[in-house]
């Protein structure tokens, strides 16, 4: 594990990515405690303020403190994205492994159906599902998870199939190991690694998908401090104060870049050949 951490931290992607993700996680956990202002307190006299000692990132169209809103909104945006990615991955991994295990015609049918589903853009799929269930944060989570499942199923299946063909699996079979042992000790560790890499990168897609749903009015609802919603609300007032628009955009970008870099770093660290 320490060897792995060393390899991860040696690459610039891994180091910066891990630092950014840790920062985001700290904000998710402690953000609401350190927020200097009430994120929903309206101050009609302090609207469109620039950054100051009192309001670090200025105030928005209702005089709310942008910095506090970002700190608190981290939970709505990041936690939901992580949960949705995990849910989508579990469903996808189950379908993918089943398909690889069944093999033959069943495998062919399942994968062709997955291909068909993937011809619907995931944003459109999420829009349809949210519309079906009604606009709310939890429904957006379900929508993103469903939209991610086919892609994860495809990846899990191809990884499982390629691992099954590896020499070390054949060697274990030749040694006379039990199927349970081979799946648990030889295959699982090698299947999990690429899936974790893919999951990490997908968290950044999920953050963006969530933000986009909220932006279109189908995710979090006002006055929630969800970042995508903040950008959406800022559009009408952006010519009065650019900060309302810029800071939540920067926050989304930091999270997305962080998870993206961490994913790339993990891939390099797990793959000693490259």
């Amino acid at each position: 594990m320490t060897e792995f951490m060393k390899r991860l931290l040696r690459t610039p992607q891994g180091f910066i990515g891990l630092a950014l993700v840790l920062l985001v996680l700290l904000i998710v956990v402690f953000g609401p405690m350190i927020a200097p202002h009430d994120p929903e307190k309206l101050s009609p006299l302090a609207r469109y303020k620039g950054p100051s000692l009192d309001y670090w990132l200025g105030t928005d169209q209702y005089g709310r403190d942008i910095f506090s809103r970002l700190l608190i909104g981290a939970r709505a945006t990041v936690v939901m994205a992580v949960l949705a990615t995990i849910a989508g991955t579990l469903v996808g991994a189950f379908i993918g492994t089943t398909s690889a295990f069944l093999g033959g015609r069943a495998d062919e049918l399942i994968m062709r159906t997955i291909d068909a589903i993937m011809s619907i853009p995931s944003l459109l799929f999420a829009l349809l599902v949210v519309n079906l269930l009604g606009s709310s944060t939890v429904n957006a989570l379900v929508a993103v998870a469903i939209a991610f499942a086919p892609g994860m199923a495809r990846i899990t299946r191809s990884v499982a199939l390629s691992v099954r063909k590896q020499d070390y699996v054949n060697a274990a079979i030749a040694r006379g190991e039990s199927s349970a042992y081979i799946i648990r000790r030889e295959m699982l560790p090698n299947v999990i690694a690429p899936i974790i890499v893919e999951m990490t990168i997908r968290v950044s897609f999920a953050v963006m998908l969530f933000a986009t749903l909220s932006f279109l009015g189908l995710g979090a609802q006002p006055p929630a401090a969800e970042w995508g919603l903040m950008v959406s609300e800022a559009r009408r007032y952006m010519h009065l104060s650019a900060g309302i628009l810029i800071w939540p955009s920067v926050a989304i970008a930091v999270v997305a870049v962080g998870f993206n870099l961490l994913g790339d770093g993990l891939r390099d660290a797990l793959n000693p050949r490259t």
Binding site: I120, L124, F215, A256
Partner: protein
Amino acid sequence: MSPNYIAKRLVMIVYTLFIVSLIVFAITQILPADAAVMMLGENATQEALDALRQTMGLDAPIWQQYATWFWHVLQGDLGTSLRTGQPVGPAMFEALGRSLLLAFLSIGLMLIIAIPLGIVAAVRRGKVADMVVSLVSYAGVALPEFVTATVAVLVFADWMKWLPPTGYVPLTENFASGIAHLVLPVCVISVILIAHVSRMVRSELVDVLHTDYIRAARLKGISRGDVLRRHALRNALLPTITIVALDVGYLLGGVIVVEEIFAIPGIGRQLIVAIQARDLPAIQAGVLIMAATYSIVNFIADILYAWLDKRIQYD
């Protein structure tokens, strides 16, 4: 590439559209909206609702409704919009045309920028130029379209006043104004594509530059530039076709957001309007057309790839 393979792929497209039609029909059936109530309003009498349901075939079992709808689709009739009362098909295809214009311009711009970026990054691997390209591509991947679009409108329309903020002018009506209205949307859609494709070109080219035949060509005394042009690029750029085709999926998703923000009456905006108004026939038609576009583009890409690279033998 055998005719057998082409036939298989065509069957695949039909299967895809069948599955998509099932999904869309299922989703629109579960939607808590009833077409009859939509058309007559909440205060309609029960008799009027029943009568309309009967004429629209809504009282038939679901599988029968699906079969009727599917049969009409096969004949080219995508249904009538609950919102406008007009046939859905022509409106959707007209909107698709505008979206395709947007998509083609974006792909064109992306190719012009992304391929040179990827080549420079690969040739100067580990140098400053490579780092800059990586940084740009991470930034591009990290910003959702609605953020880049909103910031672009703020900077180029509100502050600089170089370009119109939103709206759509047909090119046939006023070419200059039409192009001016397309600049920001096209740039916004290209950003993510550029980020993705330049990274792919870089990694493909890096792999190719490490192969034995490139080393052999260099040892023969061919200059670096000639090796790059004649040997490496050909092989490195081929996979780009497949990647661009797969990116059409992202593109169609991105088009939804970009059209909504820039008020372009393309298929994405039609779909958002249809979804918000719960206009079931329009939703069904729109999703089906999008999936068909994606499948056909990928089919063409596969054929093109096999035609350009004779080593690929599909069966």
